[in-house]
């Protein structure tokens, strides 16, 4: 049974055209994360929500925003995608903060910017 679902799996957008990636979870976890993974690199944390509290990593560009309307859903909005934003975007959830709890990852959304 899918626990962390990401839609779509593949997304193509045009340079500068806003795009939204979706993540949902059936685990009822408190924390939801968004990571960016570029080719041949490790995933890099963009931000996370602990319940409704939003936590942005210091070096996450302003171009990236997130929304969590309820426990189950979390969205990643890229306001004006550039070619450098092409990457795999991974959503993860955990019961508590990452230092003490394992994260469950979705399959990822591969974003292409044309």
């Amino acid at each position: 049974d899918a626990m962390v679902i990401q839609n779509p799996r593949y997304q193509v957008t045009q340079f500068g055209k806003p795009v939204t990636l979706s993540c949902s979870q059936t685990l009822n976890h408190n924390v939801m994360y968004w990571y960016q993974q570029k080719s041949s690199q490790a995933p890099k944390l963009l931000f996370h929500y602990y319940d409704k509290d939003f936590n942005n990593e210091a070096d996450t560009p302003d171009n990236f925003q997130s929304r969590r309307p309820n426990t189950s859903f979390c969205f990643l909005d890229i306001r004006s995608p550039g070619l450098g934003d092409a990457a795999m975007y991974l959503c993860a959830t955990s019961e508590g903060l990452a230092g003490s709890y394992e994260q469950y990852f979705g399959p990822g959304t591969r974003l292409t910017v044309t």
């Binding site: 490790a42 991974l90 230092g99 394992e102 994260q103 990852f105 979705g106 990822g108």
Partner: protein
């Protein structure tokens, strides 16, 4: 920021051989995690280590965390093609919300 260096960067082994992947931190770790990633897919949790000197095993994979909690190793015994993928260590430097992944090790197992 937390830096996690993994070695080797890539590994090609014959099926049945043992192998070890290392993860070294510049700072004391609060929790050390090992994940596996198949190409183009999400990450699969393998093991979590929190105590200095801790060792855990699952099937043919054993992970250890040193006493100082700055270095971890992942050992695979009698490797199989199903073990192929990218292995990532990840860690939180404290009880807070930051989490970092290591540089990754790409494993190929030749039948």
């Amino acid at each position: 920021s937390q830096e996690l260096e993994q070695s080797p960067q890539s590994l090609i082994v014959q099926e049945g051989k043992n192998l070890t992947i290392n993860c070294t931190s510049s700072k004391t770790l609060y929790g050390l995690y090992w994940y596996k990633q198949k190409y183009g897919e999400g990450l699969i949790f393998l093991m979590m280590l929190q105590k200095g000197g801790e060792e855990k095993s699952h099937e043919k994979i054993t992970a250890k965390l040193d006493e100082k909690k700055q270095q971890s190793s992942l050992h695979i015994t009698a490797s199989q093609p199903s073990h192929a993928g990218i292995y990532l260590c990840g860690a939180a430097p404290n009880t807070g919300n930051q989490f970092y992944f290591g540089t990754g090790t790409s494993l190929t197992v030749i039948p």
